[in-house]
């Protein structure tokens, strides 16, 4: 398990063992792949919004992925690169920020999961297409929650609780 720098000192991504790409690159690649979206939708027909056809659902997800690309591109090229505009606490019940807060960035049905290190510093752990309300109710979203916890455990096992200890880990890895 590695942490890869994506945008400046603000956005990082986990690269899990055995995976070809880091989590962010992998997500964006899948969500921009029409055949992946088509088979995902046909396998999750019961979950797609009522009255929506497979074709319309795939087109909607394609648009969501294009919007997400555009949004990430815009933040990355803005002078301040404010990633707080994108990430919000995963749980609506989280009042006040926990250490290594679990976060989500969303664009309609697409979710990018991350761990907040500091005010404008996040590490992406994965993501999911989420049609349904609760993450634990579907296999693919439950898997992403497990990954999020695994990545959080990794950070904690390296003594990372705040921004200084996180950068200490990055320095040690270089």
């Amino acid at each position: 398990m590695e942490i890869i720098r994506i945008f400046g000192d603000c956005l990082f991504s986990f690269h899990l063992d055995g995976e070809k790409q880091n989590e962010l690159a992998g997500l964006l690649s899948k969500w921009n792949d029409t055949s992946y979206l088509y088979y995902f939708v046909t396998e999750n027909l019961a979950d797609i919004p009522e009255g929506m056809s497979v074709t319309d659902c795939v087109k909607m997800l394609q648009n969501n992925a294009a919007d997400l690309d555009h949004f990430l591109h815009t933040i990355a090229h803005s002078p301040r690169g404010d990633w707080n505009k994108f990430f919000k606490p995963l749980r609506n019940t989280e009042y006040g920020l926990e250490s290594l807060s679990r976060q989500k960035g969303r664009n309609n049905y697409l979710r990018v999961y991350a761990i907040r290190i500091d005010a404008n510093c996040f590490v992406i752990t994965g993501g999911a297409i989420k049609f349904h309300h609760l993450n634990i109710e579907r296999k693919h979203t439950a898997l992403e929650m497990k990954k999020l916890e695994k990545c959080r455990d990794f950070l904690q096992s390296h003594g990372i609780w705040d921004v200084n200890s996180f950068f200490e880990l990055i320095n040690d890895a270089l």
Partner: protein, 112 residues
Amino acid sequence: MTQKEKFLQQVKKEDKQTTKAIRTRVAQRDMLRESQNIALKILCRLDVLGWSQKKLAQKMGVSPQQISKIVSGKENLTIETQIRLQRILNIPILASFFDTYPQTKTTRKQPS
């Protein structure tokens, strides 16, 4: 010096491929949208016909990997490829598809 400052001075390892891929997709959005529309038409048609991607590859005389690339919606397809897909699958991809449709006769109203 804080750990963050040390980090900024020393970090050289960066994944530039992810940002490059995003930048490329944003720049090529119009082409990708067309490619995705074609890919979706093909996938739907394969389901209707009960064909696998492998069967389409055989009919097209290309490798299954080539079909896999086409249905990913990431390829800049040549007109030649589009014509062959249109002909083999009998789906509208190019405007020429409609040229083969029987034209409806319209009668022009004579001025009174």
